[in-house]
Subunit: 313 residues, 4 copies
């Protein structure tokens, strides 16, 4: 199909943003107490193209924490640092058909199904700790910053502290991973880094730039050298596509048709290969941990701009 | 990337065929007794492009039964006949993370996860029976023939009879679907049609043509009107991509990166959007029901011809 | 403890009956349509001692169908006819921790956990069919009659026909058992006999006599030769104790402390070794398939008459 | 049946001990490294009757750690300290049909099934910590000592330290219990007490005395005031009967027919109401965590001395 010119893209984006803003569903996450303090009415959308042109709607300057979107970045880092065989011993690439924090399958298979569920991301974090030791936090955040296209990332220390205090389920998962000899480092060290990644602050502009970088062969929008090797990108997009939306992943491919990743803080990252990076934020999330407004935005953009990977040209 | 010219494509295909022929793994399926009678040494590969040009290697004239590859065709037929909402009431679109004939998830969720597992394909078959009644077998086989590009399809009656006699597990699944009010028609009627679809005879050329048709916006290779509407195709390829290779689907997207479907008779259909249709046949299958030679062929073709959906250009 | 004299036993029984009659909970079973036609207000209690003395309260002449209580009788018959090893190949003796018609565990372990869940009772019925062939219905009902102390048992043909038509879940279980090579006979033959056993008509007096026979070393109340060998009795009471009340069995031993078996028609059989046989009937059952009034009656009788197996003397 | 006189009891016990000593099966537990250091050839049997008379065979002076047998004592303590309703909020009384350290059911039901599996015993330990605070270790060990009939119990500090270091799976379970709001105290505090209970040192004589006390209405063999109230005893024996042998419990009641509890150190406690207390020790255990020699001893004693609860007199 013929590319829409930027003005008309703006018209579509504005319209989709307005339409999705009418959705009144979902609740602010409360299991991490600090997340419960956010204004539920916040709503932002940014779309970035390969030239670096950015279309912004709503509260795009409000920053929020990455939460599970950090799983994409952590896995990218591991894919750059380790060979496939080593990674596969610690975490697979199969969708689970279960909730994001499921323990049942983990206990049966003794290896996390994929890096987009908590167990898998904890295993990924352990690999980073094994590789970088005391420098793991600094090194991984530098890597994340490079992907996002910022000098430096800040961490929401209040959210970090809140997660540290309350994440009994993640502790259970981590100890189970120790039991299965998946984790090499002490549970609290691994979780401290895992929660730090979750607590990285971003805006929808950051997500849109990140999405465009991943959509563009690893090259930052507007030009520059690739920040990821092609192999990493191929694997990363594959796993994000099949596992990124948890047990909604099949429906997501069916309806939207490009890789995306949601976080319980209400962020949603969309990656449209060769086309756009999309960042949405709305802190009200559904029982699967995705923002209804964010999901609607991505669905409508996919339909209106013909972004589905199997859409006819 | 620049298209390889057809002669060099032939070189690649020949090389991949020769290399995969060295694999000595898997066993002929025995749970359907009639399938056990096949010569395990048979091996064939056909690759078709949009022009209709076909590259053939090995026993490409040997016909075999579709088995689970028929699930793609049955679902296509249902997508053309029913609205999404009706279909979704009978079968979802999520990968299961379980074996192809799993009952556990079905019993918990009371609806088949997707149309590529047995439970889902049985639900799909029931919908066809509801729609076409006594003409369902004729109508669905006509539809299959149109997709494959043949006048008429034949059915291997010995295999059909063999499955009819031995498929206690599918009977269990079908009665459970009756229990959940998913099936409207009598179990034996539904299974008779389901087994008939599984027993349709094809060659690798047929699969390659079918694959190219699905890869080409529904248009038969060499030209002609589309046999499927674009919406059907988008949904069909999405579900085939995420669910077609069962609990190997994530690994498949990771490594191969285009939709494919395997059958326990040893057939394997590959669909490379905009590029190729691929048919492989080798009757020795692994414990997940896929042919190791077929899997290897698709992996190598993907790598050598850069067919992965997220491969750099 | 000193036995209560019969008059004071009657006082206790009357009081317990009156008290339990005040319970307003549970619903008449509807998944077997014919069972839904019963008067929900019916309520009966019979207690029999070793001398054959019977205390009756309420609608003790109303007959109802055995349903799952027949599982005790079928298993008794099998224990008399086969050696342990053969029986154990077809059905185990472990509580499941799952619902009475669970399929999950069956699919994992490929053998029914115990004869008190549907899968196990269907396997038991298959053994009877293997042993007695065309005479299985007559022979097993004669055996049941002998245990209950009647010349002949009648079958509620309307309930039988109703179950035959609607039991898709049991059909699924039976086909799965065929798939696992547990069943040797055709599914419909096995289910026909299984449903026939379920549809045997009894009164609470019959249950109380049956219970007393099992409580009395197999000797009919009032005297006579034992109708079961001691080994059968030991095994039968053991399995009834640990598995008879499904996933309420642990709670039952904890609170009541003697073997019992419930049926979805609302019957409840209590067996107090050396003391009493108890029959209760109230057609309103809870979500676990037991009658709340029946459960209350047994609990109160246990407490007031000190019937718990681990009660202090 | 008529009681065997003590001399002939000794003959039976000696014979059973000799016979069971011929069993060459099972392995010393290695997942707690310190347990792996034991001499696998050790074998001891003690049988105590109500008079306090004790029959000893083999290495009855060798002490070993209670491990899971401590679950009986911990639950007894909780039954004496809390009302049923409070206890039931923290731990149920149903057999699981799963392994002793299963997580699957816990995650589904969000409450441990019973106090004889690890999750349930950890919940029980938490209740003791809530009740006794800093004195919990001293108070509970004093209570254990009273039941066993000793002044004071010693703890194997090497085994305790070994468990502390290695029990990642129990940590996972405990954090999951925190996640479900079952545990009120910090995980490490609860586990420290739990492991301490597991590491209490006993001999087979101690187990036999303990068993006889529980078999004798809570009265120590040879006379003395009861150390448990009748209600506690009734509940404790019920749960030990239905859940004490894990997913072997049904088989145990079927074949042996009295309450028993095994530990991975190789100890096995048998409680024959009104008759005997039995202690066996053999450090080689099977995959279900029970000693094959211990199991054989209990089975043979049950058969030869007619100890099954449903045995004919």
């Amino acid at each position: 199909m013929n590319q829409l010119s930027l003005p008309s893209l703006k018209t579509v984006v504005d319209e989709v943003f307005r339409e999705a803003g009418a959705i009144d569903a979902g609740n602010v996450t409360t299991y991490i107490p600090e997340l419960a303090r956010v204004d539920p009415a916040l709503f932002a959308l940014s779309v970035c193209d390969a030239s670096g042109a950015m279309i912004d709607c709503g509260d795009t300057r409000h920053s929020f924490t990455l939460q599970s979107i950090s799983k994409v970045l952590g896995y990218a880092c591991v894919l750059e640092c380790f060979d496939d065989e080593t990674i596969m011993r610690h975490v697979g690439v199969e969708p689970t058909g279960e909730d994001f924090d499921s323990i049942i399958k983990l206990d049966r298979h003794k290896r996390p199904f994929n890096p987009m569920v908590n167990a898998g991301a904890i295993a990924v974090t352990d690999l980073l700790l094994t590789r970088f030791g005391a420098e793991a936090a600094e090194r991984s955040l530098d890597f994340f910053a490079r992907l996002i296209g910022k000098e430096k990332l800040s961490v929401d220390e209040a959210v970090l502290a809140s997660e540290q205090r309350t994440s009994e389920r993640n502790r259970a998962i981590a100890h189970l991973l120790r039991n299965f000899k998946i984790l090499e480092n002490p549970v609290e060290d691994v979780l401290a880094l895992y929660f730090r990644h979750c607590a990285v602050e971003v805006t929808t502009c950051d997500l849109a730039r990140l999405g465009m970088t991943l959509a563009n062969g690893g090259c930052p929008p507007g030009g520059g050298d690739p920040v990821l090797c092609p192999e990493t990108l191929r694997k990363l997009l594959s796993v994000t596509l099949t596992c990124g939306m948890y047990n909604y992943a099949g429906q997501w491919v069916f309806e939207v048709g490009f890789p995306a990743k949601s976080g319980v803080s209400g962020g949603l990252l969309g990656i449209v290969p060769g086309r756009y990076g999309i960042g949405v934020f709305s802190p009200r999330v559904d029982e699967k941990g995705s923002s209804p407004r964010g999901v609607r935005v991505q669905k409508r953009l996919s339909a209106k701009l013909n972004l589905h990977m199997f859409a006819p040209d």
